[in-house]
């Protein structure tokens, strides 16, 4: 009888020891493992949120920049602010920053502070065509120098107006520039340089309009707003319209003041030009309980 009591007591003690071991392991693992997971997840959410806010604010600043002076002065959104208005623009950016934070704190904890830095912004001129005729100038002179640092270049071309089937029609700088080439059979190609095909459409899927948008040397080609290829400008390329034929559309080209701007401003082939800030710089800071992110954002030049 004594032997059975001892056995059962031994079994009970073993069970208690096993249970205590399990308890201890659970407490230890909870302390070491879960906290790291939760912290890493919170940090990654903060980083993603910061990326999203940076992209959203940059889009909004672009909208503000395009509309601030040009709608009243030129009648359409253009990428410049008048040299006489940087302080007013600075006020509006500060106001936007305050309004953004007021709205975002309704459902979050992030605080935004963005200010306009006039001393680091780039001045220059904007050339554009949006007249009733919409025909592109032919070999207009003097040329505008475009290179990888050109803030902004935009073309919107009617695809059906590119009609020459035997040779390249509508070129921006022959040979090394951008060309729209209507092929025999009705296909249309957008090329860069002499042979690099960026986009092409068959006769049955031609878009109505083709957009080419380049900021600081890189950009994309779109057909009816849908992206189809990327474009890159490496060298200094004088912009002249070579062989535009009967192609119609609009263009906006902004250049900084280090390029050949002075003599071109009053050139009637380029329609009206507007001088001012063409590539603004913003100081951006976003802060939430987990992190603080500061960066200088040049609107057409990427972060620095």
């Amino acid at each position: 009888m004594v032997k059975n009591d001892d056995r059962s007591q031994l079994i009970l003690i073993a069970a208690i020891l096993i249970a205590t071991t399990i308890l201890g392991s659970v407490i230890l693992l909870n302390t070491l493992h879960s906290d790291a997971d939760i912290t890493a997840h919170k940090d990654s959410q903060s980083v993603k949120q910061t990326e999203r806010v940076t992209s959203e604010v940059t889009d909004n600043l672009r909208t503000l920049f395009f509309a601030f002076d040009s709608v009243s002065e030129a009648g359409e959104p253009l990428p410049y602010i008048s040299n006489s208005n940087p302080s007013l623009f600075e006020e509006n950016v500060t106001k936007y920053s305050r309004n953004y934070t007021e709205l975002s704190t309704l459902s979050g904890t992030g605080v935004l502070d963005v200010t306009y830095d006039d001393s680091a912004s780039i001045s220059g001129a904007v050339f554009r065509q949006n007249g009733s005729g919409n025909e592109f100038p032919n070999s207009a002179s003097p040329p505008i120098d475009v290179d990888a640092s050109t803030p902004y270049m935009y073309f919107n071309i009617s695809a059906s107006s590119v009609t020459d089937s035997s040779s390249v029609d509508f070129e921006v700088e022959q040979g090394s520039g951008i060309a729209l080439d209507k092929k025999s059979g009705g296909a249309l190609e957008v090329t860069e340089g002499s042979s690099n095909i960026i986009c092409q459409w068959g006769p049955s899927d031609l878009p109505d309009t083709i957009q080419i948008e380049v900021t600081n040397g890189t950009g994309e080609v779109r057909g009816d707003g849908t992206a189809c290829g990327e474009i890159e400008i490496d060298d200094t390329t004088p912009i002249t319209f070579e062989n535009p034929g009967d192609a119609t559309g609009q263009y906006i080209i902004s250049v900084d003041s280090t390029n050949s701007v002075g003599a071109s401003i009053n050139d009637p082939d380029y329609r009206a030009a507007f001088t001012g800030i063409v590539d603004p710089m913003f100081d951006f800071t976003y802060e939430d309980p987990s992190l603080r992110f500061s960066v200088d954002i040049r609107l057409f030049g990427g972060n620095s």
Binding site: I16, L29, L103
Partner: protein, 196 residues
């Protein structure tokens, strides 16, 4: 003497049972079953990314403003409740949301500052039907700058048609936004999408 031993054995057994039961309970709680029950913070990440990208695409394609300025809602001054209706899609925004979030349910709110009163207040408008979340939900916001020159749209026969008017042309009481800037900026609207 045997009575004393019995009491000691009983006490030992009770304490042992408590320790074993506690270990079982805590051990089972330590197992994370959220991945199997489609619950937990990681499950919302994918939906949040999807909604964020959808709103960015909608803005890139200029689909947000034509919907937010298609008036005809409460007092005819807020966006019409049908701007997110589908079958057929009333606006480009409803088409984008319907195509990309077809596996999720969502409610869209607009938050904006009313500066016509003192002190200014923040108003919220829900567009269309306000759904009720059936599980863990995500909230994604996007702010849009409305300009004086933005065109206004009129809801007519399940279609938002562009009018000749601009936002700056509308009388104060006929639009839910207030012009709080002397510059080309009219107001800032926050679109808040709650998805589940």
């Amino acid at each position: 003497m045997s009575g004393d031993r019995g009491q000691a054995y009983t006490l030992e057994g009770v304490i042992g049972a408590i320790v074993i039961a506690s270990a079982l309970v805590l051990g089972i709680q330590a197992v994370n079953i959220e991945p199997w029950t489609d619950d937990g913070p990681e499950q919302g990440d994918e939906l949040r990314a999807q909604v964020t990208d959808t709103l960015e695409i909608a803005q890139d394609q200029n689909a947000l403003k034509p919907a937010l300025l298609c008036l005809g809602g409460t007092d005819q001054s807020t966006p019409h409740p049908n701007i997110l209706a589908t079958s057929p899609d009333v606006t480009r925004l409803s088409a984008i949301l319907n195509d990309t979030l077809d596996d999720a349910s969502y409610t869209v709110y607009l938050n904006y500052k009313n500066t016509s009163v003192s002190p200014p207040v923040f108003n919220q408008t829900v567009i269309g039907q306000e759904g009720e979340s059936t599980g863990s939900s995500v909230v994604v916001t996007r702010q849009i700058i409305m300009l004086d020159s933005d065109p206004v749209y009129d809801y007519n026969n399940r279609n938002c048609q562009r009018t000749d008017e601009e936002l700056q042309d509308l009388p104060i009481d006929s639009v839910y936004l207030t012009d709080n800037s002397k510059s080309e900026t009219y107001a800032i609207v926050q679109m808040r999408v709650v998805a589940w």
